[in-house]
Amino acid sequence: MRATAFDAIGVPWHIGVGGASTPTASRGEALTNDDRAAVLARIDQFDRDWSRFRDDSLVSRISREPGSWRLPADADTLLALYEQLHALTDARLSPLVGASLERLGYDAAYRLTPVGDPLPAPRWTDAIALRREPGGLMLDTVAPVLLDVGAAGKGYLVDLVGDLLAARGVTETLVDASGDLRVRGGRSIRVALENPADPTKAVGVADLHNAALCGSAPNRRTWGEGLHHIIDAVTGRPVADGVIATWVIAESALVADGLATAVFLVDPARLSGKFAFEWVRLSIDGRLEASAGFQGELFA
């Protein structure tokens, strides 16, 4: 039986179940119908909370009027990572880049046409305050603000889906949300690192065991020359310093996803004091770099 496949949050997902005996080339077995339904419901809930592409989401409501907003139970872990990365990148990575992305054309209607000069994100301390109350995390805003959790949200959802399955007794899983993935249990997997300039080629293969791998490449979502979704929050402009793809391996997909964006903005050495991770980075001139502890092969 083949792994479970479906489309959600705009990308194809694959979830396979299997332990150490699963062949390398197999994602694993399909989920039961009940488990599949539970996974889809969890993803839908995340989308209804965090998507800036649907009008009825919490994030869309926060973008329309100021106020005090009770955030969902999963918010604390996600926003705590953003707080850390915001500090480590001198505010260049921020969840407040929603309006910057809209300015560049990456909006809910997919206009894909810039509507003026790049717009720097509002400063965190000016725009939002987080309060941890007994009932959960509260977000206070003094003006409408458009949150965008694109840098780490998909990875986090990969974690949440794996957590949900583990709680249902399905502990050996491969959850793959189109390149942001996490494997749990006894098996090891091999992940091809796709050359962003040529999808038939891999620039390397990562060996993964009880870990997550997330990739980030501007040209995965490019809608014009120099226009892509990895934004420097300080300038409101897409990053353009010659890195064209990054992959990060970490214990959780939340951390791997966030760091895959952060290493576009700062040197990986700056982040290695706070997080345990390995990384691979491909530059426009074809230079391929990896951290010393990277497990796998590189074909440079």
């Binding site: 790049p118 993935l181 796709e194 040529d198 999808p199 020359e225 074909f299």
Partner: protein, 142 residues
């Protein structure tokens, strides 16, 4: 003006074109063919050098890029990319883009590797794709 050069196979650059029509709404080509013409991936092409102009809107206004392909026996034997930036920011982006085409053909065929999954996906820049699609429509044997 900046020019980059590359050698690659037709099949490799032909593959992603079909899926890109949705993003091409703001683009125009100076070729007689329309930018979103449908050409079968296994089509046969005339030998020769073909050129097309891709125009796109940047935050700084209209910019264009010229792509020239040389085809021999349905294989691309040369790619010339000429950028004509209207401002320094675009020059920077286009320079990276033009430089990158030739040098990034590295790696090993994924089909030959025993892997579980592939991380990453590929979309080429819009201006390049629009110009390339126009070239394909221009060069296809009728």
């Amino acid at each position: 003006m900046m020019t980059g050069s590359a050698r690659t196979r037709a099949a490799r650059i032909a593959a992603p074109i079909g899926a890109t029509a949705a993003l091409l709404g703001t683009l125009t080509g100076c070729s007689t063919a329309t930018a979103d013409a449908e050409v079968p991936v296994d089509a046969s092409y005339r030998d020769g050098t073909f050129q097309a102009n891709g125009t796109y809107e940047s935050p700084n206004g209209s910019e264009n890029i010229i792509v020239a392909l040389t085809l021999e026996n349905d294989v691309v034997t040369d790619v010339q990319i000429t950028t004509n930036p209207n401002n320094p920011t675009t020059a920077n982006y286009q320079g990276q883009f033009a430089d990158g085409i030739g040098e990034l053909v590295i790696g090993e065929d994924i089909d030959t590797l025993n892997v579980t999954v592939v991380a990453g996906s590929s979309l080429t820049s819009n201006g390049f794709r629009a110009a390339l699609t126009a070239i394909k429509a221009d060069a296809v044997e009728s």
